[in-house]
């Protein structure tokens, strides 16, 4: 019994300590204005995390938009309400699916890569040799990845929603024959710039920060062995996904919930 309690306490303190280390990491990396010479590092990370994720984002966005439209159609056509597909599609994507699915895909596609990369740098002592040369790895390695993640996830989510709505319109208007005007007019009638687009963007920004932070931290804090890196990569994806889903629920509760 006592051993069990001690174990729980130990685990709790470990978790608390890793939160602390993650916080310090975030603070130290962001507390730094990049010099002119470092600028290209940031561009390169935006390329790695953002541009290279475009493929999977566009593909999954299109198929999700198409599938949603098909499902909406089969249900709503029974009530003759297929004209509100446009609105339903836009609301679902802007409020929930756009930010959340992008967050999950980003964690899998880019977050895991960041974790593995930083973890391997640590395991092969690249980080410590940088320190030896007087270069702070937090500024040179961690900060560009964090900022790139902060920037890329919202942009990817915007692209995701736009492509998915386009995919929905392709399926709905061109294949199923929903009225073109009704599709867009219903959407424009019901979608509010602040409550739908704006709050969606807020969600994306939060996810961007959380996913990049977790990925970078997991890599930076991993046990520098091959098992350590693999565990850190797994943790990075698992924790990021859980964080995205849990935060999404909380934010939806606060933003759209009944208590105001």
């Amino acid at each position: 019994m006592l051993r069990f309690l001690r174990l729980v306490g130990q685990r709790g303190l470990d978790v608390l300590a890793s939160f602390g280390r993650a916080g310090i990491l975030l603070f130290l990396s962001l507390w730094h204005v990049p010099g002119r010479r470092e600028w290209s590092l940031y561009v390169k990370q935006v390329y790695q995390l953002g541009v290279m994720s475009m493929g999977i984002i566009v593909l999954s966005a299109f198929s999700i938009g198409a599938v949603l439209t098909l499902q909406f159609y089969t249900q709503l056509a029974r009530f003759g309400a297929q004209d509100s597909i446009g609105l339903g599609l836009a609301l679902v994507l802007l409020r929930e699916l756009g930010p959340v699915v992008t967050g999950l895909l980003f964690a899998g596609r880019a977050g895991s890569a960041v974790t593995a990369e930083i973890g391997l740098m640590k395991a092969t002592d690249q980080l410590s040799s940088m320190e030896m040369m007087g270069v702070d790895p937090l500024h040179r390695i961690v900060a560009p990845r964090l900022w790139a993640g902060f920037l890329c996830l919202p942009l990817l989510a915007m692209i995701f929603s736009a492509v998915a709505i386009w995919g929905g319109s392709v399926v709905g208007i061109d294949w199923l024959g929903i009225d073109d005007g009704q599709f867009w007019a219903g959407m424009q009638e019901g979608v509010e710039i602040g409550t739908d687009v704006g709050k969606g963007v807020v969600k994306c920004v939060v996810f961007g920060v959380v996913v990049s932070w977790i990925s970078v931290y997991q890599g930076y804090d991993c046990v520098p062995t091959s098992e350590g890196i693999s565990a850190a990569t797994t943790n990075s994806v698992v924790y990021s996904s859980i964080a995205v889903l849990a935060l999404d629920f909380l934010m939806t509760l606060v933003m759209y919930g009944e208590f105001k």
């Binding site: 953002g50 475009m54 915007m158 424009q188 710039i193």
Partner: protein, 152 residues
């Protein structure tokens, strides 16, 4: 050198694509029309029953949207709802005897406020109250009435 250039170009294209996507979402999806300025004035109307009229519901005249519902309050003394509406500034000829009615789009659609012009020469200005109102038509009440009458 060439490689760095490619990276920069694709990053630039990515940023532009993201910005364009946001513009698409704002303009095409939420249908913001920058030309339609938010120049409005406020009118109030008291209704005995608003039955599901919601904030931001349409205010229309002859089926054309001329404003939005901005606030719904309750006057508990008279048991009436006070609906505040923001009306487009260009519609400035609503006479003091103009009527407001709560109607339903289609049979199951959302509620909206319909404004009917009056005949007086005096016009409503910001903060005025429309007195000629007709509350929402509640299907359940009608059915209830019908059932009672059939009972007699």
């Amino acid at each position: 050198m060439m490689r760095i250039r490619t990276i920069e170009i694709s990053v630039g294209a990515f940023l532009v694509a993201g910005a364009l996507a946001l513009v698409f979402l704002v303009v095409r999806v939420s249908g913001i029309n920058p030309a339609a300025g938010a120049e409005t004035y406020t009118l109030h109307a008291r209704f005995d029953e608003i039955a599901g009229l919601s904030m931001r519901a349409k205010v229309s005249m002859a089926g054309v949207t001329i404003g939005r519902v901005t606030a719904i309050e309750i006057d508990s003394e008279y048991g009436e709802a006070i609906v505040s509406m923001a009306i487009d500034k260009r519609i400035d000829n609503l006479s003091v005897d103009a009527g407001a009615r709560i109607q339903t789009e289609g049979i199951l659609g959302g509620r909206y406020v319909s404004i009917v012009l009056g005949a007086e020469d005096e016009y409503l200005v910001d903060g005025d109250t429309i007195t000629e109102t007709q509350g929402a038509f509640v299907l359940e009440n009608l059915i209830g009435e019908l059932v009672t009458r059939m009972g007699n």
